[in-house]
Amino acid sequence: MDAVPTDRDLVAIGLLQDPVRRALYGHVVATGAEVSRNQAAEAVGVARSLAAFHLDKLVEAGLLEVSFRRLGERRGPGAGRPAKLYRRAAGEVAATFPPRTYETAAHLLAETVEQAGADLELQAAARRAGSEAGRGVRPGPPGPDPSIEQVLAARGYEPYADGDALRLRNCPFAGLSAEFPVLVCAMNLRLIEGLLEGIGDAPGRAVLDPARGRCCVAVL
């Protein structure tokens, strides 16, 4: 990622100022799957043609990706055209002013922790940081404590219910965890254990349950 935001990044962020576009983007992201124009239009409550226009704008900006697939059972002639389906794009969009490159620093620090074999120290620091952050979001009596779902949502994990488990659609450390999975996923587990502890919940609810395409931590 460049330190100076590219035109592409700025255009993408600018696009999301429009409330309809933001709602469409939010719907596609929250679905965690491929979404058709009809589904998106219905969810957001706009006409199909308007949804299509905005969805394609989001594709142009690199926020969404497109694939074509036949939705019905029918194949061959008469099955109709394949539907245009939208999902969140794999890339990242970011802009900071003044320019900051925490990504570079994070990679160097992770490399050093790995070289130094300081996994356990990192895990302890993550647990402390999570616990502190968890305590920080408790309103204090008489307010009700926030749920772990709310806390994780606020931190960008995009939690969703999967049976009795709470899974996390987004890994906030995706670039780093791809390169240092053992280090970063264990760190993330301790961080979420700490968050649970901090809000007065049971830390043991956080477990590693790795899978492609989502965060490796689940809350049971």
């Binding site: 074999g117 996994d119 356990l120 999975p181 053992v182 264990a186 590693l208 790795p210 899978a211 492609r212």
Partner: protein, 151 residues
């Protein structure tokens, strides 16, 4: 089936004896994790004694060093097992069980399908990686080389 399979070796220096309390967590995971590997997509072979694991094999002068040697159908299947199963969680405890090693502790290389690498060969690959850095004859997860790059 691909004509070449991926061999992997990793070594680890025990912080304490295997039968002591410090390593109890590791020992408890041996059987389930090995069973998970055996059942994983792409698994071909792993080094083991009649105990069902390789913990008794100590090929180095420093007999605290254990070796783990296996063969997989592809880079992706090995990576999937290592980082996208419960194996990942177990690896999170590595520093409680094993000392940090200054030299490379993991090496990957391509072998003709149907052949099984020896421990001596695995040692040579680790030494090659230490001497030359990642290359087509000894590489790592972070710096992989495709099959065709071997020749």
């Amino acid at each position: 089936m691909a004509a070449e399979h991926l061999a992997q070796v990793n070594i680890a220096t025990l912080r304490a004896p295997l039968d002591g309390p410090e390593l109890a967590g590791f020992v408890a995971e041996l059987e389930p994790i090995n069973a998970l590997a055996d059942a994983s997509p792409g698994f071909v072979w792993r080094l083991q004694t009649e105990d069902g694991d390789a913990t008794a094999i100590r090929p180095y002068d420093d007999d605290r060093i254990m070796v783990n040697l296996s063969v997989w159908e592809s880079f992706e299947t090995l990576r999937g097992f290592v980082y996208s199963t419960r194996h990942l969680e177990v690896m999170g405890h590595r520093r409680a069980w094993f000392s940090r090693m200054a030299d490379p502790f993991l090496a990957l290389w391509w072998v003709p399908a149907g052949t099984i690498p020896t421990v001596a060969e695995a040692r040579r690959r680790l030494e090659l990686l230490a001497r030359q850095g990642p290359g087509p004859d000894a590489f790592t997860f972070r710096a992989p080389f495709p099959r065709s790059a071997r020749r």
